[in-house]
């Protein structure tokens, strides 16, 4: 079980979080069908670092992007997203 550092709450157990998807599988509603299907069904799935959207669902409910190593499970970075995280 991972330990994820929520940008708002600090280090917490993975059980408080839900995984949403990798950022490369975000389907842009304005995208052409071909591009949207690519995002939906064809994913990079790299043996290395990947950016993933997670939510602190059973905590502060905020959303974030984790940069996680898919082999070692090391989490290299956590970045808040959502309206409050906009510059």
């Amino acid at each position: 079980m991972y330990q994820i550092t929520c940008p708002h709450c600090g280090p917490r157990a993975q059980t408080e979080f839900t995984y949403e998807r990798t950022t490369d599988s975000i389907v842009d509603p304005a995208a052409e069908p071909q591009t949207a299907m690519q995002a939906l069904y064809t994913r990079a799935n790299p043996m290395g670092l990947d950016d993933e959207i997670w939510r602190h669902t059973y905590g502060c409910r905020a959303w974030m992007v984790l940069t996680r190593h898919r082999v070692t499970h090391e989490i290299h970075a956590v970045k808040a997203i959502g309206p409050e995280a906009l510059p």
Binding site: Y2, Q3, A13, V27, A36, M37, T57, W63, G82, P83
Partner: protein, 921 residues
Amino acid sequence: MSGPTRTPSGEETVPFTFDGTTYHARPGDTLAAALLANGVGLVGRSFKYHRPRGIMTAGIEEPNALVTVGKGGRAEPNTRATDLFVYPGMVAMSQNRWPSLSFDVASIFGLAAPALGAGFYYKTFFGPAKHWMRYEGFIRRAAGLGNAPTEPDPDNFSQRAGFCDVLVVGSGPAGLKAALEAAEAGKRVMLVEQDSAPGGSLLRDPDPAIDPAAMVDRIRALGGEVLLRTTASGYWDHNFLTLTQRLAEPGEVPPHGFAQRLWHLRAGRVILATGLIERPVPFANNDHPGVMLSQAVRSYLRRWGVLPGKRVVIATNNDDAYLTAQALVEAGADVVALLDARASGPAAPAGVTVYHDARPSSVTGRKHALRKVTAVIGGSEQSFDVDLIAVSGGFVPVSHLHMQAGGKLNWSEEAQAFVPGETPQACETIGAALAPPPAPAVAPAGKAKKSFVDFQNDVSLADIDLAWQEGYRSVEHLKRYTTLGMATDQGKTSNMVALSRLAEKQGVSVPQAGLTTFRPPFTPVTMGLLAGAGARNAGAHVRRIPLHALHEAHDPIWQPLGYWFRPRAYPVDGETLAEASLREARTVRTVAGLSDVSTLGKFEVSGPDAAALLELVCATTVGKLAVGRGRYTFMLREDGMVQDDGTVWRLAEDRYLLTSSTGGADRMAHFISYVRNSLRPDLKCSVVNVQEHYAGIALAGPKARGILAALIGAEPPRHMGYAPGVLAGVPVHVLAASYSGERAFEIHVEATHADKVWQAIEAATRAEGGAPYGLEAMELLRIEKGHVVVGGEVDGRSTPHDLGLGGMLNKVGGFIGAAGLTRPALSGPNRNNLVGLVSLDGPIPEGGMLIQRAGQSPQGHVTAAARRILEGVPIALALLQGGHRRHGEELIVTSPTRGEKARVRVTAPHFYDPAGERYRD
């Protein structure tokens, strides 16, 4: 061996029973030690062949001496006698024998042996089904371990989260030292030990310079936590470990009600001081009672004062077994021979004859006691009359946790062992596990067939050879084919012996032959411990709707719906569910009814960009709604399938209310939040989940409008209109939406005031001849009206077009799922379309398949079946291939599982008032 083999002591004895006979143990005895002390050598029968088995080890790696301990729901099967500390009144039973341990039919007649060789299960399961049919009864009777208890476990299991700077696993000399050093350095330390006493190898080989008890006291005095009878059972990511702590012995009545505790531990650093497990030696009948690991013999002698044999042969390939010879001599045993496979060794204790280049080839016994060891010494054979053989085939570092942590292993040629190397986690191995004593490879001297490798699953060298001969080359295949290492001991004593045999067959070195993966748990874990308090539903939510108590007064039939309970029907005068729901539905059709719809998903979306967000989430237009108006809507997944439906209302210029299904409410809350935060954080709007803030009451029927007008003192809004109002002195939102097909309203009110509003509406409705209605009546009403339901017709595979909703899609696109809907396959002619079915004979079986004639593949299925509420004709909704084009066709609905069948005519799905004249203005 026979008779007690223990010197008397002044201590009080602990009575226990084994197979119904009462024995006495000393405090601190394991069951194994106590049985040996009482002269009991035969402890169990093997899994497949029912061979007599005794005690081979003195630790958790024991493959043979498995017992069932405890009574009733507290019974724990397959417990190692070596990992079970005797308590007063303990009841232990041997396993896998009939009618008795010493007289077992299956073994006497050799029933199992010829049939159950390597690959037996594999060949049986992969062969024709009739093989399994033929063997099933036999396998179930012959092959087995203890029986799981059938009664519920009366004890509780606790779960606890823990944190520490340093976790030390194992309280041998290395672990004690590391834990004490960390505690002295001011770290938060946890030291866990699976045994009941600290010391590890010191319990067997005491060192006057090290006092484990004093070190434990010191660690505790420094604030450290030392947990005995606690096993680090799993090592997961990010230095997360699961610990299983025994608060009582297996089968024992726990003093505080809790039998075990599961720790979820996050450690800053992990130190594995897990030590070594001794390797057995393969020779013929090496599974016989009286064959014991060398270090185990030392443990029984020195820790428990039990002499497991009086005339002993020792067989070894390393120096450690010479210590056992010394211990036996000191205890007064006769060490008849020390067989050393090597050409030379250390000095032996006085009076012990050492034979070099000597390997045991077989043992024989009589009445389950060992009698004779035969050895190959140089080129010739020699036999020895003994009652015990102590064996040591080298040592295996306990690297399970290290490997679970993702660690690498290095091969030690001189120890013929894998030694823990680097790990990607903050974890290191220390102590004996890093330095197994030199122990060269030795070729087995006995017949392969009876030379057992995996004692628990009855796998012999011959089975490994057979697997090789049949083409199983990889260690993973070997394991699955022979079931090697797949028993409850997970191959702790067998893996390395098997691996060296495989490497020998392949003509490669052991590391080239490969190694199977070690997976958690390290030792077996009781299911109840994993469930914890959840085993008694303590972890499950019960969400009560605001009006629960009012409904309760009517004694309804309750139905779970999502996490909620809602009234299914309100039977009166002994009505059945079917009678009550039909009466309630008729009341709605002819007078008026009220129903609790509080559990609907409800989201308030406000701000200048509220409509923009809703037009992403909803597949219908939203922005064009006038203030005070609403509409039916549905939401798609990105692949174009409908995920939920509801209504959307414009309450004010920049404020909307979106409702969704009860079951989908949590999913929808997550979905809207995802869209808002991940896709469009730039939108100026806020989303508030008001599902539990508002209670909802549906009022439906021809008289609904009049009833409501009187209650709010104003004309209610027209169909799909919204108006605020005051009812029974409470502010309410009135939404004119119809699910039932009648003129209907949803009255939403702050949950804390819902009682007053319900009571007022109920009184007014009853005064007009109406009544409350439940979910079952609602289902009858919606089926007749042809409304889809999430989880029924909306099954995750249906598009808006399939459900006849295509015309409502936002033509401009831009909503979630718009791109997915353009996939060509979704506009093919043979999609499953929503249709209605009218029976031409009897009732339509729900879930039945649609066919044109017998023997045909199904062309669709019935999603919901009912009857016309007033007319009684059986009707149904169904998903049918190309259904939109097939209205008028005659089909058969068949349900082979229910043995029911009906002829039906395909129709449009709207049976009742298709034009909506009953509620439109």
